[in-house]
């Protein structure tokens, strides 16, 4: 059975057990039971699975010992002892169900996040754009660099960061700049890739320094047509690739 199906089944069971408990078993202590129920739910939401388990076991023992003590103090007869056992079982079955459903749900949520991250890594492009993902950029860049080295060509990598921009407009600026980059640079020849949330990278192949500056100025001019950007807020680093490996900041 898949964990998602198991969770659905357990959640159904949890509701039924809760209803039976408050309607037929613990009618005399409903407020106390609901208080515990809510407290356990909150605790399990905020603590890690294994710590939650230690608490569940401690809860089971403390409740059991409590009933045992009551049994001694109040000299419980066989019927009352049986009732105490049923009460205790009702408490721990409910607690176990809360624990299980909470941690299966948390597990699925964590698994989903991990899978989402993996899918993002495996994708070639960021979302619906033609912007390459970091991994895809690295893969293609590595192939291009090898080919350039073989042919004795030179080229440039330009790293552009918007981290100095106001946080309010970082995202929109990043999207606009990468969209313009995809228009300006030769789509079949040069690479435009996302490095992190506020940095992207361009790879210009078979270009000398002069060619790179012409292309970069064309790009900056295009930006100025659309945006009123203060250049000091943009971090641009260039790095020569191919036969020499030099870096400089503009």
């Amino acid at each position: 059975m898949r964990r998602r199906q198991l969770l659905t089944l357990l959640q159904g069971g949890q509701l039924i057990v809760f209803y039976i408990t408050i309607s037929y078993i613990l009618q005399s202590m409903v407020p106390f039971f609901i208080f515990q129920y809510m407290a356990l739910m909150l605790i399990f939401i905020f603590v890690k699975s294994i710590k939650g388990f230690v608490l569940l076991i401690a809860y089971t023992f403390v409740m059991g010992t409590g009933y045992l003590l009551l049994g001694f103090i109040k000299s419980y007869g066989i019927l009352l002892q049986g009732e105490a056992i049923i009460f205790h079982l009702a408490f721990i079955i409910n607690a176990s169900l809360i624990y299980t459903t909470t941690y299966i749900a948390k597990g699925l949520e964590e698994e989903n996040l991990i899978l989402r991250k993996k899918v993002d890594e495996l994708e070639d492009y960021v979302g619906p754009s033609n912007l390459l993902t970091k991994q895809e950029f690295e893969n293609r860049s590595s192939l291009i660099r090898s080919a350039m080295a073989r042919r004795g060509e030179e080229g440039y990598q330009i790293i552009i960061s918007v981290e100095k921009m106001s946080p309010y407009i970082q995202k929109s600026t990043f999207n606009t700049l990468t969209n313009i980059a995809l228009e300006v640079f030769r789509s079949q020849y040069d690479l435009v890739g996302k490095w992190d949330d506020d940095t992207f990278i361009l790879l210009l192949q078979n270009t000398d320094e002069e060619g790179m500056r012409i292309a970069l100025n064309r790009y900056l001019s295009k930006i100025k047509l659309k945006m009123d950007l203060e250049e000091e807020n943009l971090i641009i680093k260039t790095q020569e690739i191919g036969s020499k490996d030099k870096g400089m900041a503009i």
Binding site: V54, F61, L68, F72, Y76, Q81
Partner: protein, 404 residues
């Protein structure tokens, strides 16, 4: 009668409470993140493997030994105690191939058994630390390094104790129950007691001891059938600690047949009876941390057993209608709590070890009524043979566990 039942109930309730606390402490210690402190210099270590007719398992054991990932000098000694099977050939092949693996033929001697073989191994080796592995053990590569780090980094440590897991757990119901018993033992007796009292018990295998500690307390007692428990007491009596390292894991084969288990456990219990006899012969066993071990021994083998017998007798007599209680005590609740505590221990151990599965949980539910009750039979069987041997002034024979 009422007075006996009242005392019986009170004692059982206290035992339940003690084991509840031990379970929670064991769970806490077991799940706590430990910081590994690597050493600048790793001391030289000798690995001692006593072996007698271990042809079925020794190849896997030696394969695991040569894969131990230990940064310091390491010497492996296969102590061959007159094996008549292929142990000799396998050990020789490994010794010819690996420079640090030595095949040692132990001279004949009496009494037979592991202790004498280990003493011989100690006499021909001289590293700062030695570690003992049974001949059916497959330690994980990092286990020895973790044991040494714990022993060196823990002040006043005379060694360190690792964790034993069952390699053939899924073979049948019996091996699943043995595995569960081991997991509970590690969780409560080892992790829980280490957390509460800073006491650890040597487990016979996957245990590291400092050579200087052994020089101080003396060699293995050749008459002790539970040589690990006996050595634990002597080390503890010198104020030295035995830290528990649950991450240092070895995989061990457990009996797959009831007959083999009964023989093995009879030997272990006779070893524990030997210790009990010693405990009642000297006040030395009631000082300092020794008291924890002594009380544990007395609690399990005398108090618990006696009261368990009373409880069982009372239950059967009640069922047969021989006696009817005229005292109002919560017997049913005590029984329920005993079952609950044991079952929670079983589940806790499974959750911590990642072995929880529907079949293993079922084993946890039924073990209390089946496997655990075997203890009573085993105890009286061992007691019978122990008293018989003592009366005849015989040395109890070392029954080697059959491998599968």
């Amino acid at each position: 009668m009422s007075y006996i039942l009242l005392v019986n109930s009170m004692v059982f309730s206290k035992i339940i409470l003690y084991y509840s606390v031990l379970t929670i402490c064991g769970l806490y210690y077991r799940t706590r993140k430990r910081v590994v402190k690597p050493l600048v210099n790793y001391p030289r270590v000798d690995v001692l493997i006593p072996a007698h007719n271990e042809g079925r398992v020794i190849q896997h054991t030696l394969e695991a030994m040569v894969e131990l990932d230990y940064p310091g000098e390491l010497y492996i000694y296969l102590l061959n105690d007159h094996s008549q099977d292929e142990t000799e050939d396998i050990a020789e092949a490994f010794a010819r191939t690996y420079k640090n693996l030595h095949h040692i033929r132990v001279p004949k001697g009496e009494p037979k058994g592991k202790s004498r073989v280990l003493n011989y191994g100690l006499s021909i080796s001289n590293s700062e630390y030695f570690v003992v592995y049974d001949a059916d053990n497959q330690p994980e590569p990092q286990s020895l390094r973790l044991l040494v780090e714990a022993a060196v980094n823990t002040p006043k440590a005379g060694g360190a104790v690792g964790y034993v897991r069952t390699v053939n757990e899924n073979k049948n119901l019996l091996t699943r129950m043995i595995s569960l018993e081991f997991q509970i033992f590690q969780l409560l007796m080892q992790s829980g007691r280490w957390f509460l009292f800073n006491t650890g018990s040597l487990t016979g295998t996957n245990m590291l001891v400092k050579r200087s500690t052994l020089a101080e307390v003396g060699d293995y007692d050749v008459y002790a059938l539970a040589e690990d428990a006996e050595l634990t007491l002597r080390i503890t009596s010198r104020g030295q600690l035995l830290p528990i390292v649950p991450e240092a894991i070895t995989w061990e084969q457990e009996p797959e047949e009831l007959g083999v288990l009964i023989k093995q456990r009879t030997r272990w219990l006779q070893g524990n009876l030997y210790l009990l006899e010693k405990m009642f012969s000297s006040f030395e066993y009631y000082k300092g941390k020794m008291l924890v071990h002594t009380l544990q021994q007395i609690l399990v083998y005398i108090i618990f057993l006696v009261f368990l017998m009373i409880s069982h007798g009372w239950f059967i007599a009640g069922l047969l209608g021989i006696i009817s209680p005229n005292i109002q005590l919560p017997f049913l609740l005590i029984w329920y709590m005993s079952y609950l505590v044991y079952t929670c221990q079983a589940f806790s151990a499974q959750v911590v070890e990642g072995t929880a599965s529907p079949i293993n949980m079922l084993v946890g539910f039924i073990s209390y009524f089946t496997y655990c009750q075997l203890f009573i039979f085993l105890f009286f069987r061992s007691l019978f043979y122990y008293i018989k041997a003592r009366r005849r002034k015989e040395v109890i024979k070392w029954d080697k566990t059959i491998r599968f």
